[in-house]
């Protein structure tokens, strides 16, 4: 829901202002049946703590890992997950849909 994703943006600000390294992940595109709608957020800190959801649990682990890279090099990137993806065997979406997640550093 909107309120939840708003809470996540507030949390991202709070964490960043407290001096924590922060990355923000956003679902930017979905195809087929996807568990979370476009615009859903996940906030991740440098220690791997996270809040929110971009897929209801299917790919959060991979996004958190990638967020560590984004925090390290400061470069935003777009990740793709889906059944057509090779990584789908590991972290794919069981619902058969696919999603694109944009991950950026808050600095």
């Amino acid at each position: 829901m909107i309120s939840t994703d708003s809470d996540i943006l507030s949390t991202a600000e709070t964490w960043a202002k407290a001096g924590r390294s922060v990355a923000l992940a956003t679902v930017v595109e979905t195809w087929g049946s996807a568990p979370r709608p476009v615009g859903s957020h996940l906030v991740i800190d440098g220690e791997g703590n996270f809040l929110g959801s971009v897929s209801g649990g299917c790919v959060e682990g991979a996004v958190v890992e990638e967020a560590a890279e984004v925090i390290a090099d400061g470069r935003a990137r777009t990740l793709e997950f889906g059944v057509a993806d090779e990584t789908a065997w590991k972290v794919g979406l069981s619902c058969g849909g696919s999603i694109k997640v944009y991950v950026e550093k808050v600095s």
């Binding site: 909107i2 309120s3 708003s6 943006l9 507030s10 991202a12 600000e13 960043a16 202002k17 923000l24 956003t26 930017v28 595109e29 476009v38 615009g39 470069r75 935003a76 777009t78 944009y102 950026e104 550093k105 808050v106 600095s107």
Partner: protein, 230 residues
């Protein structure tokens, strides 16, 4: 994202103002577009479309992919009159994800028994509205038929930029209402904002049907195109 941009995005949301964060997905370049700047933005049409739907989304323009993070304030409906129609409106509004508040100073009408699970204020509308506030994402609906109660609410609504104003009553009742509002200093352009007779013309008869017609008109005003195609 720069922390300043994130803070501004959060501040706009708290203030209940529509805002869109535009991100060039390839380069990561971003800009925050506030309500007043949307019409002049190069992506104005896409911004308007996404904002009406209150949906974030990807748009293609100038050979680039832009992601629009859309923050549209949650729409609210303020109703004067704890009456049959508002009893029917309450559960319908909940299904439509509209925040409904019912205001009626008559404590015999405004009881929790008649209105379970809905925000109910047994106050005069002008006092209640001063607290609640009216903004571009608020609809105001007057249902009491009683000028003592409806008029102060309507006057507050006309002074605000709320997106919808509707008032129950026959053409005759509305005619007298217009005379009173005119005497109170409101011009024709102001009073033309009032939807009366209220609701979509679906031949509504029962209170629930009238509630449906009113909510249909509110949704249509909220989501309908503000700019007609040429």
């Amino acid at each position: 994202m720069e922390l300043g941009v994130l803070a501004a995005l959060n501040a706009e949301r708290t203030a209940r103002r529509a805002t869109i964060l535009v991100t060039d997905v390839a380069s990561g370049v971003q800009r925050l577009v506030k309500t007043g700047d949307m019409a002049a933005d190069p992506l104005a049409e896409a911004l308007d479309r996404q904002l009406r739907m209150a949906k974030s989304g990807m748009v293609e323009a100038d050979g680039r992919s832009w992601f629009l993070t859309v923050q549209a304030p949650h729409p609210r409906v303020i109703v004067t009159g704890a009456v049959h129609i508002s009893q029917a409106m309450a559960p319908m509004a909940k299904l439509l994800d509209l925040d409904l508040v019912i205001v009626d100073p008559r404590t015999a009408f405004a009881t929790a028994e008649r209105f379970p699970d809905v925000r109910l204020l047994a106050e005069w509308p002008d006092e209640a509205i001063a607290t609640l506030g009216l903004d571009a994402y608020t609809a105001f609906v007057a249902l009491t038929h009683d000028p003592k109660i409806d008029d102060p609410g309507l006057e507050a609504a006309l002074r605000s930029d709320c997106f919808y104003i509707g008032a129950l009553g026959s053409r005759k009742t509305h005619g007298r209402r217009l005379e009173r509002l005119s005497a109170a200093g409101f011009g024709e352009a102001d009073t033309a904002r009032i939807h009366a007779p209220i609701g979509l013309d679906i031949g509504a008869v029962s209170p629930a049907e009238i509630a449906l017609a009113i909510l249909g008109e509110i949704v249509s005003t909220l989501r309908g195109p503000r700019r007609k195609p040429a």
